[in-house]
Subunit: 334 residues, 2 copies
């Protein structure tokens, strides 16, 4: 381990990237470029990446990594400090078979979308009688696509917000490990911050994801087209309001004695922000267009199950979930 | 006028068909075949129909009418007893310019879908200071398509339910004119009945139309595919329940002293019936596929406005309306 004086200038941790796609590929490549020891788990791109490495076209500067540590067999992965899970959540049922050994004091860091992701990982490890390391969640605010084997295009943004999962769902201060991860990401020129309240941060991100990801598939539309239409904007407001009401009810139920509430102007702010974004095809729309399963369970199913527990009515989220389930079943069977 | 003894065997009334499409063309042709004096108003098919007449392929027997009274100019239509309005409701703003003179004791009979259609016709005539004849509404339970110029295909069903529009929205007994219309339609082998309560009959039909027409466009699906999917079936149930609750609130508000309510088992009955129907592309889906405007104002907009007046929450109907408006604006601008 480096001494205190080195911590801002030298990478400290080893990483496994479980799912080398648009998110895992980009962040993993940047970590390796910054000097971290990074191990990439791949499926279809394994041969290409082992031969030719990774390539990133980024608004912050293009770069290539001709040599990376690529793995097809999860069992071949060495023990690491941090396993970054960047699979689609639709593959999470396989996660236990894909994870490497985590070194003492290490963690699993899920960079996935939706609610209940960390809890589900913990539950899966418990069910298989596997050791449970610290589980962290990272919310990525990034536009990044995979454009070819081992080839990623970083279009905009890139910020990550990291928080710790607690079985109690309570807030908690950043751990030493989280600070080291922040140091590595900072070294890799990735804007990174920590949150004391991972669940509320996940709810906050869902305020945007639920309407825009969901409706982009049902309406076959970009963010720009949706926000410009008066009726859809009103529907987006209704959906956002359902998520906010649900999030606040959840925050109150889990911490009756102190307020864990989303900020009151979040809906206005998110809509105004979306107006200034470039036209954007959401990740769910990209999945749909490429006939992949949609992440509807973590983005809509889990939140709706929380709503049912809390007796919060979410009729528009429910309708969106039913529509997406139908469209997905037709799309994937084609 | 024929004597009482003749009424079941001889046609009595003259008709103008305003909108010679899948509905107007089929019923008008059958009325003429039965001996009625029928005048057809046409747009694009005028030349063809004037030359070659009408052709009907029907499960009840094919027939052709080589000669029909065809009109392109509404002003050329003679005065008639009954003007059958079978335009898409999206063209209703032009209706005053298309109507012929109605003979004393005659009526306008709207065979259109949705809620508030008759009231809107009365209002339009009032605004233009035109005389207001009796206004009737007819609910058609029929699968019929236009397959070419002046050529219609009658696939299934065919029943019509006729009721009188009252400005007060109160029930009323069938008029003498309605009985004559029933006699003519019966002579034309069309299954026909009258209702004392046109608004509640319209609500009842909307219980089916709202979910199946609306979702068929959003989900790009037939009735068969929708009813077979568990999630969509649950959504259909929710939408149907919203219409039933709204209808019953409307019935109670307009007649506080006696119950005007839809039957309690209507949702189960309609769903079971739909399961036994052949796979069916709804009229709204056909309009969408042919890039025509959708009848969303009479099928969803007017009901939602009634719901707002009655403070009945209809979140799923509202969402469907917003989705359809967006899809229509993109579809028609293509």
């Amino acid at each position: 381990m480096p001494s205190e004086g080195d911590i801002q200038t030298m990478a400290t941790l080893s990483y496994a990237i479980i799912g080398t796609g648009a998110i895992g590929g980009f962040y993993g490549a940047r970590l390796q470029q910054a000097g971290c020891d990074v191990h990439f788990l791949l499926r279809s791109d394994y041969g290409h990446v082992r031969q030719s490495g990774l390539k990133v076209d980024s608004i912050e500067g293009d770069f290539a990594l001709p040599q990376v540590k690529a793995y097809r067999d999860p069992a071949a992965l060495p023990p690491v400090d941090v396993a970054i899970v960047a699979l689609k959540t639709t593959r999470n049922h396989q996660l236990c078979e894909l994870l490497p050994q985590i070194k003492p004091g290490g963690a699993i860091l899920s960079l996935q979308n939706g609610f209940g992701v960390e809890g589900a990982i913990a539950q899966q490890l418990t069910e298989k009688n596997l050791p449970i390391p610290a589980i962290l969640g990272g919310l990525c605010f990034i536009c990044s696509n995979k454009v070819g084997p081992g080839h990623f295009r970083h279009l905009d943004y890139g910020r990550i917000l990291i928080g710790a999962h607690q079985e109690t769902q309570q807030p908690c201060l950043p751990t030493t490990l989280m600070k080291s991860i922040v140091a590595d990401f900072t070294l890799a020129s990735i804007e990174v911050a920590t949150t004391d309240d991972l669940p509320m941060a996940r709810w906050q991100k869902l305020v945007w994801i639920v309407p825009f990801n969901g409706l982009s598939v049902v309406l076959d539309a970009t963010t720009e087209a949706m926000i410009a239409d008066e009726g859809v904007r009103s529907l987006i407001t209704n959906l956002m309001q359902e998520v906010v009401t649900l999030a606040n009810a959840w925050g109150k139920r889990h911490s009756p004695s102190f307020p864990r509430q989303l900020s009151g102007d979040i809906i206005t702010k998110m809509q105004t922000h979306t107006e200034t974004m470039p036209p954007y095809r959401t990740s769910m729309k990209i999945d749909f267009d490429e006939s992949r399963p949609l992440e509807i369970e973590t983005i809509l199913g889990n939140p709706i199950r929380e709503a049912n527990k809390l007796a919060v009515p979410v009729p528009n989220m429910q309708m969106l979930y039913q529509q997406l389930s139908f469209l997905m079943s037709g799309n994937c069977s084609k």
